[in-house]
Symmetry: C2
Subunit: 309 residues, 2 copies
């Protein structure tokens, strides 16, 4: 699947991923009204509106992007109905040829981590039948519990030819509270990164490993260090746009081959119509606003990349 | 809700929590057969059998225990149908007067962590109606992303009078890979524990905080240190039984008032009928085997506690 991701990035010439993180406040009124007419003021109505919203964005942007990253928390908040919308979104994105990165940040131990891995990347067998419970291509994984927590994901990735991105250095302001603490003079995120590099080297696709890392765009100096530490790991880079990360800040997350990183934007794309810049599209045409925002983001990042070449 | 948990512990005289972590291999054949007859070889059948299995255990043990801890991974592995079984299990346990600790180990940042908190502890408002998406009383939280990830949970806990257990020192063999690394001469788990103590002191119930900690039974010396570091935090203690933790190992997780910790057992209780000790109950009577295992576990832990008094 890392092969597919790289193919998609090369084909679209856009090292970007659209974060499908729908909040109720992002939904255009007409979608919510329509769903409430059908299902009342229910979680099902909200979830249905979320799904319609995603579908519009996918229809408008799928030809321009290699991948999407639905954030499962934004679906869990609508309960079981929200997870039905998550599943429909994953299926539809895959039908469109997109790679789907489930942003689930799961992490547990042994058979529990394996259950998460089966749920999101694997296959559950019931008698003579097999099912993919949620069916993503990649997921994000939290490393705090150590390799007991990560190895079950790697095992399922081997079987299913899928991949993971392990949280190394996240993009949020307080990420340093624990991740930056010094251990023998080196920050924890480097120790974790080193471990990811080791797992990665043992699980290679063609030129890149299918064990990647999450490295925030908001910490450019640290991105540079981590790029050297994990040369074969793909970086999933959050924090561009709304969180303050600029294209110039994240160029060091890429390798000299122009590959090695995929930059996420969520709100900046899916709620583009709410920004002054794209307001002229209007709420009804939110999906076209997203399409324009994708083109602008790709141009911004490709521009920054060409300036460092 | 920390008040309710302590009340339940005092009433039952059993500082234990039953981990409802159903694996397919634990399910008695008659439950799976019945569900497959109705729903075929489907995820829905498996999920329905899981729910029946849980219901049997809850009916047989609810009067003896203060709380249950469903591990959501074991439900996610059956997809949306699994999460319907999770929700039914939470509701049924609450009807029986039990405190429900959702073992979800979520952790993200800002609005995403808030979405998880709403999903599991909070209320989602759609128009004029309000819903509790999953409705647990407590959840477990992963601290790797720092306070940006934990504070949204605390905010929802304040509103809803609920609580969390933050992962500090987990029970698994590799938990030390990152958690034990020394920072200025002190292991990371102490740094995290100190932070939990600080959050906890600001969010007190009566005698204990509603910000607790996960501290594995498998590391007794570390439990002792952490108990002193977080005097007001309740400890959720995994690792007893199947993972190798003994009653003598975990007595130091309790305070002198006999409170302060609640010990989890999952497989040892819910799949007791598979152990030689309880095999005479037979598969059909798996729930009675669980009841006996609960009584034995409570006696074992209370015995160890009385020996250190």
């Amino acid at each position: 699947m890392i092969h597919q991701l790289i193919e998609n990035i090369k084909r679209t010439n856009a090292p970007i991923v659209v974060g499908l993180d729908p909040m109720l406040s992002y939904l255009p009124k007409h979608l919510l009204d329509k769903a409430e007419k059908e299902y009342g003021e229910t979680l099902k109505a909200a979830a249905e509106a979320v799904w319609e919203y995603n579908k519009g964005i996918l229809d408008a942007t799928a030809d321009l992007i290699p991948a999407v990253k639905p954030q499962i928390a934004m679906y869990e908040q609508f309960g079981v109905d929200g997870l039905i919308a998550f599943r429909k979104t994953v299926d539809y994105a895959k039908e469109k040829g997109l790679v789907v990165i489930g942003d689930i940040k799961r992490g547990d131990i042994g058979s529990t981590s394996e259950a998460y891995a089966v749920a999101h990347l694997g296959t559950m067998t019931i008698g003579s039948k097999s099912y993919q419970p949620f069916g993503e291509d990649f997921v994000t994984v939290n490393p705090y519990l150590g390799s007991d927590g990560v190895k079950p994901f790697i095992k399922v990735c081997e079987q299913e030819k899928k991949g993971i991105f392990v949280l190394v250095k996240t993009s949020n302001p307080s990420s340093g509270e624990f991740q930056d603490r010094l251990i023998d003079g080196r920050p924890l995120y480097e120790i974790v990164g080193e471990q990811v590099a080791e797992w990665g080297a043992q699980h290679m696709g063609d030129s890149y490993s299918y064990i990647g890392a999450v490295v925030g765009a908001t910490y450019p100096e640290q991105g540079k260090v981590l790029r050297k530490l994990m040369p074969k790991s793909y970086f999933l880079v959050p924090g561009y746009g709304a969180q303050g990360g600029k294209a110039e800040d994240l160029v060091h997350c890429f390798n000299e081959d122009g590959l090695g990183a995929i930059v996420n934007s969520s709100r900046g794309i899916i709620a583009a119509y709410k920004k002054e810049e794209y307001a002229s599209f209007g709420e009804e045409h939110y999906a076209e606003a997203s399409r324009q925002a994708v083109m602008d983001m790709a141009a911004d990042i490709n521009g920054a990349l060409s300036r460092v070449k």
